[in-house]
């Protein structure tokens, strides 16, 4: 029964990877399509700017022309639909794995990869109801496809019972908030990458990346990234505190500079730096975007390199 469920889960993971890969291709095609459409969009914006300028300071009725909503092209609509489909398969895989193991599906690196990527996609999809972030699709589905692929190939372990050190309610709390923090950081970092590209194009670089003209400007990307990262930072703070409470119960101290603790702290400080950078003259913009990217790289480093190659108490990869 357990083996069978775990096998179904694994098949679902492979299917989800395939569908995510397909969605990634379509998101990328959409970006290249945008480059073709970019010229038309530029014209529209020029007209809007003219209208705004002629409005002056007193007229009531003349308001800046709303940017004409671009009807979602077929590629993008299909890519989003595929991402939803893959996510449902993905969730089924995570749930089957959890049922097979009789516990939360994030007790080793494979399961963590499975659940963390599910949350990243979930946050990405649900964020669409708040803001149109579909232009991040290629970044997010690409990241998740690779992460899940590495998880299955490099980190897969069979279902095994929890070791005593992990038998704690904090396994649920500590990891959920860590994963949520990771998901918000991932979206923020993706936006920061686009912000850098967008800035570069605005300064005359990247002549062929015309799709960048179809996404929001660098200032707006930065605002969106900031708002997502701030939420991620709150979750990350919870992660640190929940981890410390758990460590105090399991290891007899709340903080011991274990390698994983060190890197979680480093990530926290980097994003604290990001938040300060945004409020510091001369650091807003490109520099703070780099900090967001470095911070998220540290999150990935913390999960992969630190877990596998560094010696420490958080040795739960199951490898």
């Amino acid at each position: 029964m357990t083996d069978q469920l775990a096998n179904y889960s694994l098949i679902a993971v492979y299917s989800a990877i395939a569908v995510y890969a397909l969605a990634f291709i379509l998101f990328t095609l959409d970006l290249s399509r945008r480059s073709v459409e970019a010229t038309r969009a530029a014209d529209r914006r020029e007209q809007a700017a003219v209208a705004e300028a002629s409005g002056g300071g007193t007229a009531v009725l003349v308001r800046p022309a709303e940017p004409e909503p671009r009807p979602a092209p077929r590629y993008l609509r299909v890519a989003i639909a595929l991402t939803w489909l893959a996510w449902i398969i993905h969730l089924a895989a995570a749930i089957a794995r959890g049922v097979a193991a009789g516990r939360v599906p994030w007790a080793n690196m494979f399961e963590f990869s499975l659940s963390a990527t599910a949350v990243i996609i979930g946050v990405f999809l649900l964020a669409q109801f708040w803001q149109d972030l579909r232009y991040l699709g290629a970044f997010i589905t690409g990241l998740v496809t690779v992460w899940l692929g590495v998880g299955v190939v490099g980190f897969y372990v069979v279902v095994a019972p929890l070791q005593p050190a992990l038998q704690s309610v904090w396994l649920v709390i500590h990891i959920i908030v860590a994963v949520l923090g990771t998901a918000f950081y991932a979206l923020g970092a993706g936006l920061s990458v686009l912000q850098l590209l967008r800035t570069r194009r605005a300064n005359g670089g990247l002549p062929r990346a015309r799709f960048l003209d179809t996404i929001p400007g660098p200032g707006q990307l930065e605002d969106l990234a900031y708002r997502l990262i701030v939420v991620g930072f709150v979750f990350w703070t919870f992660t640190l505190i929940a981890g410390a409470i758990w460590a105090n119960a399991a290891w007899g101290r709340y903080w011991g500079w274990d390698t994983k603790e060190v890197w979680t702290f480093v990530v926290w400080v980097l994003f604290a730096g990001y938040i300060h950078a945004r409020a510091t003259r001369g650091w807003r913009g490109t520099r703070s975007a780099w900090l967001a990217i470095i911070g998220f790289s540290a999150v990935l480093f913390n999960f992969t390199i630190v877990n596998v190659f560094f010696k420490g108490l958080h040795a739960y990869s199951g490898l």
Binding site: V60, A165, F233, G252, R253, V269, H276, F310
Partner: protein, 576 residues
């Protein structure tokens, strides 16, 4: 984002001058002409600037990294010893750079202390300013609201027969009521041909911000203050034996500077039994422990009642301010050594330290007296012995299925006669001769429970006792538990400040702080009355992505309220 660089009333004097919201004053004092006081002020301003805080934060992140690359004495002392052994050439250099004690190093301490000085220097003026701001009314309405990024204008016609000033005052009064109802703090500024309400909300943002930073200081102070009174001790307790809470009974003890080690809480703790379950062979995770439970009895002097407790992983036992943790476990085979005449010269249940997850364990037996020479036995214990592909023995399952102990015998000097303290878990063989195993040509000793073997040279015998023979034990080998006993009175304070910091963080980041102005100005004559202009403007103080829509909503609500309240008095005019 709405920022105005030129309105002097809009910037916040208590903030560092390079804060994004601050007006660049261009007159930063610098230069060699400054006196000592001027220099001190200049250095202080540099230290409390945003840029310095940011650089110190990034340095802190960078400075923490080496602690994960090099073994730390605090977390992994054996790793440090090993590093010295493997890299004797560079290890002293690394040590001189304090790379094995990163988190107590001079340079790491310098970074975080400077950071906290900068933080305190930054928040104290801001706390003072904020306390004042919370008591003062919202500031005077700026003369030119149209310079703000979020600015909307509507026009009204005030009928000729109406009292102009009463009418406009009433219109602003409606906005004032609405803003107050939305929890804004409001202040009317009427006069000189303009009627306006100035409103501000979100003081909680700055409060949260300040609470967050102050709570971080609280966390640091709690950690530093408590470290002097914290102690941690480790002790290995074999089943059936008792540990007394005195310094001499610990195998290692790390007291803070102010701990009175002579006055530890008096109690004794007996390990009655140690339970462990392992996953069955052949199942996934075979040999992995399912649960550990150390059943202990705690007795206090002068009290007849005993407390029976179970210490588990993740489940420490609290006892009078101390917490008892289960950190590890293993086997303690009972070994008896007899001399040639059969007299017992050694009998102990000696803990053997596990070397791998299948509990292949290493232990040392030291017999200083009673035999012709001092004898040391280097033993391996295998709860379930198997043979690896390499031909070496190893335990293949952690429970007692096929328990075997093997010994190699060394004779000579144990190195303890001069009083040098020696670990009971290592044998210094430099002054000893190996008598069995390796190149000696004599096979090592191998024993199952209940078996005995001759020592070399006819010196006597060694026996692996089967304790299930003669006492109530159900297993042939005793187990031990490795317990950690600690007191950390600072931990609740750290938790309290961490919780405060989180609460402050959430309000400081997510509560928007903004100023809103609604202003009415009578302008030109108009057919049938006078044209009045109503302006709505908003200013974000800190991040406020919703501001544009908030200004719009305030405008819409205001217009809707006017439409119901003033259907005839003032007709809204959309076409100027």
């Amino acid at each position: 984002m709405s920022r105005s660089r030129s309105e002097p009333t809009l910037s916040d004097p208590a903030r560092p001058s390079d804060h994004f919201d601050q007006v660049e004053d261009g007159a930063s004092p610098a230069g060699p002409s400054l006196g000592p006081l001027g220099w001190a002020r200049w250095i202080w301003r540099q230290l409390t600037s945003m840029r310095t805080a940011l650089v110190l934060l990034l340095l802190l992140a960078l400075g923490a990294v080496p602690g994960s690359l090099f073994p730390q004495r605090s977390a992994d002392p054996n790793g440090v010893v090993q590093y010295f052994r493997n890299r004797p050439d560079i290890a002293p250099v690394m040590d001189a750079l304090q790379l094995f004690d990163v988190y107590s190093s001079v340079w790491f301490s310098a970074i975080y202390l400077l950071l906290f000085v900068s933080l305190i220097g930054c928040i104290i003026p801001r706390i003072r300013h904020h306390l004042k701001a919370m008591r003062t009314r919202p500031p005077r309405t700026p003369a030119r609201l149209e310079r703000l990024d979020h600015h909307l204008v509507e026009q009204f016609v005030v009928p000729a027969d109406a009292d102009r000033s009463e009418e406009l005052s009433r219109i602003i009064g409606v906005a004032e009521q609405q803003l107050r109802g939305s929890l804004y703090r409001v202040q009317r500024y009427d006069g000189r041909g303009a009627w306006s309400v100035s409103a501000e909300r979100g003081y909680l943002r700055e409060t949260g911000n300040l609470v967050f930073h102050a709570a971080l200081v609280g966390v640091l102070v709690s950690v530093l203050a408590a470290s002097g009174f914290t102690y941690t001790g480790q002790r290995v307790v074999v089943e059936g034996t008792t540990f007394v809470n005195t310094l001499s009974d610990y195998s290692s003890f790390n007291p803070g500077r102010f701990v009175d080690t002579a006055a530890l809480q008096p109690y004794s703790l007996t390990l009655d039994s140690f339970d462990v379950t392992y996953e069955m062979p052949g199942s996934p995770g075979a040999g992995q422990a399912g649960n550990f439970a150390a059943h202990v009895t705690i007795r206090e002097p002068g009290q007849t009642t005993e407390r029976s407790e179970t210490v588990r992983v993740n489940g420490p036992v609290s006892f009078g301010g101390e917490r008892i943790y289960l950190l590890g476990n293993g086997y303690a085979p009972t070994i008896t050594v007899r001399d040639a005449e059969g007299a017992v010269v050694y009998q102990e249940s000696q803990p053997f330290l596990p070397q791998d997850s299948m509990m292949t364990s290493l232990g040392i037996i030291k017999v200083p007296d009673g035999l012709p020479e001092q004898v040391g036995l280097v033993g391996f214990f295998y709860p379930t012995r198997g043979v690896l592909d390499t031909g070496a023995s190893a335990s293949v399952y952690p429970a007692l299925v096929n328990p075997i102990v093997t010994f190699n015998v060394f004779a000579g000097s144990l190195g303890i006669d001069d009083g040098t303290p020696r670990s009971v878990y290592t044998l210094d063989t430099s002054g000893m001769t190996q008598l069995t195993g390796a190149d000696t040509g004599v096979a090592g000793i191998e024993l199952r429970p209940g078996e005995s073997a001759e020592l070399p040279n006819g010196w006597g015998t060694v026996t692996f006792e089967d304790i299930s023979d003669n006492d109530a034990a159900s297993e042939p080998v005793r187990r031990f538990a490795s317990l950690q006993i600690q007191r950390d009175s600072g931990a609740p304070w750290v938790l309290l400040f961490a919780a405060l910091a989180t609460a402050g963080l959430i309000t400081g980041l997510l509560v928007p702080r903004r100023r809103i102005w609604v202003k009415a100005i009578a302008t030109d004559p108009y057919p049938g009355g006078l044209l009045a202009r109503i302006e709505y403007a908003g200013l974000a103080r800190g991040e406020d992505p919703q501001l544009a829509s908030v200004v719009q909503r305030i405008r819409d609500d205001h217009l809707a309220a006017l439409a119901t309240e003033l259907p005839n008095d003032a007709a809204k005019e959309n076409t100027p």
